[in-house]
Amino acid sequence: MAKQRKVYVTESGENVYGVIAEFATAADVYHAAEKVRDAGYSQWDVYAPFPIHGIDEAMGQKRTKLPLACAAIGLTGAGLGFLMQYWMSGVDYQLVVQGKPYGPWEPFVPITFELGILFTAFSALICMLAFNGLPRHNHPLLSKERFLAVSDDTLAICIESADDKFDPDQTRAMLERLGGRNIDLVEGD
């Protein structure tokens, strides 16, 4: 049986989504991320208005499985494209074109390639959205006025209550130790 996750509730009865802390510079948030990673948290994220090189390593993020999905779906698409053409002009409706044999592989290559690309491109987009849990209508963090500044001039770390290691007091204390400012509870599911 799956381990029951603790549900934290605020005084007003709202579920706790997580704890958010702001950081002053990219370096601060980078090193804080390393510490959060080393503390063993897994359900958390770093929010920044610009890409921070190496932040995925600092967060200990695993490499995405997206390429595997793309390769599998793309090769399937290429194979289907080839089979479709072979069946159409080699089996179902044979025609002599320029004295060429029935179902030669040569003219099938461009469309096989195109369908491989098409399936790969669509699988890349759709699987990326699916893996990221997108599209979604709202996010608990968006109800925080201060959070909106992460698209402008603020860097933040939010540790979610969905994390097994999450504890309202200890997590807050750790973020404080790491130099986080304006630490706050985030309400919502």
């Binding site: 990219a26 980078y30 921070i52 090189h53 190496g54 490499r63 390429p67 004295g99 040569e106 003219p107």
Partner: protein
């Protein structure tokens, strides 16, 4: 804050600005090449000796010169690949590849030498052999073949010799100018030499493209004067880039094994080299298929004849080996990130790429042994294969000998290139 600033892997706050310790002599000079170059020379003597011996003892002159020419064109392609990458890196002002550029330059300066080697057979055929491999040089065809007479304005002995000299001059100028700037920068540290190299590369790239294309017309395509393909120049260029990047891996990985280039050529550089290997695998496949496809589709006899002899008598297996081995195998292997970041895995792939590159040259040149108008018994790919193997190993021995001598005589990287720090700190963020 102090604990943050002293963090070991501080990728955000501080770059280590001093790379002086990486430029110590033991890291950037290769000195142990004497026995290796002797070994390569021995392989060259044995291999090329066996090829020449076979001309008189076993398979005949035509087979021997075809094998020799196939091997020479394969090695010339590797050197031209080095020239291409040197040119394109100067043109793009590439920073990441500075620590690799010297090895491309080492390949590049051997291009004129390999052109001389690749000119031996055509000149022999022109003056002594009476067009045994290069059919248009045959006096009989020059007299009574209507197709050849239409092409005589281009395919005639004097213009042919002028073109060979032109290629030699152009490649020598590009090679010595670019390697000269690079070596002078090692000594003076003058950063403006990078600009001069860039200027040279601008016209050099154009000259390189035209001369490479026409050299491939002259040295490969003209063997069968009936055949023509406008893709041919690009096809040979694709082979050059493909084999050139493989050759680079086989130079740099052993150097890393020998304890050189430590922290100068890292997994990050190999990752990008692997991407280039992948690129030119796909590029070759694109060009090779486009050439074959259009000829197959349009079905013009003087073009299809070239492929027809290469799709029978056992050559169809080489044809499909190329489709699988020159494209599918390296394509699927190089898709993986781990392969591109592992020097050992890349070296294995590079060896395969060189094998299949010479198979490609084999596929182009060797059927010419039977594509005479008066041929009798068809020559299958495997008949007398040892002559071809001897020629390829002999020629690789010769190229290896020249390369080892060159690599041990110059620093392994451009020591004072203004973009050197950028190259050392190069990192793939994906």
């Amino acid at each position: 804050m102090s604990s943050i600033a002293t963090h070991e892997h501080d990728a955000v706050l501080h770059h280590d600005q001093s790379h002086e310790h990486l430029l110590r002599e033991s890291n950037i000079r290769y000195t142990g090449g004497a026995s290796l170059s002797t070994l390569f020379l021995a392989v060259a003597v044995v291999g090329l000796g066996a090829t020449i011996a076979s001309a008189f003892l076993y398979t005949g002159k035509l087979h021997a010169i075809a094998s020799f020419q196939m091997a020479a064109m394969g090695c010339l392609a590797m050197c031209l690949g080095g020239m291409f990458f040197t040119l394109v890196m100067h043109l793009m002002a590439a920073g990441w590849s500075i620590t690799l550029r010297r090895q491309f330059e080492n390949l590049m300066v051997l291009a004129p030498v390999m052109l001389v080697v690749a000119s031996i057979v055509p000149l022999y055929d022109l003056f002594i052999g009476n067009g045994s491999l290069y059919l248009w040089m045959n006096s009989q065809y020059q007299k009574d073949n209507i197709v050849l007479q239409e092409k005589i304005a281009f395919l005639n002995p004097s213009f042919f010799c002028v073109r060979l000299m032109l290629y030699f001059v152009v490649w020598s100028i590009i090679a010595f100018k670019l390697s000269g700037y690079s070596r002078r920068q090692d000594e003076t540290g003058d950063k403006w030499l990078s600009n001069k190299a860039r200027f040279t590369s601008a016209w050099g790239m154009l000259a390189f493209a035209l001369t490479t294309a026409f050299a491939s017309f002259d040295l490969l395509m003209s063997m069968d004067f009936r055949f023509f393909s406008t893709m041919w120049g690009v096809y040979y260029f694709a082979s050059a880039a493909f084999s050139g990047i493989a050759a680079l891996v086989l130079i740099v990985v052993p150097l890393r094994r020998a304890g050189k280039l430590e922290a100068l050529v890292t997994a990050e550089h190999f990752h990008d080299v692997g991407k280039l290997m992948f690129t030119f695998t796909v590029f070759w496949a694109y060009i090779a298929f486009s050439q074959y496809f259009l000829i197959w589709y349009s079905n013009v006899p003087e073009e299809t004849a070239w492929y027809l002899v290469r799709k029978r008598d056992g050559w169809q297996f080489v044809f499909f080996l190329l489709a699988i081995g020159h494209f599918v195998v390296p394509f699927l292997i190089l898709l993986f990130r781990g392969v591109k970041r592992s020097p050992t895995a890349l070296a294995v792939v590079a060896m395969w790429m060189l094998f299949i590159h010479f198979t490609d040259m084999f596929f182009i040149v060797r059927p010419m042994v039977t594509t005479r108008f008066t041929d009798s018994a068809p020559l299958t790919p495997m008949s007398g294969i040892w002559v071809d193997l001897a020629a390829v190993f002999g020629m690789l021995g010769l190229l290896g000998f020249l390369l080892v001598r060159r690599v041990s005589s110059v620093p392994l990287i451009p020591l004072r290139d203004p973009r050197l720090p950028e190259s050392i700190e190069h990192k793939n963020y994906i």
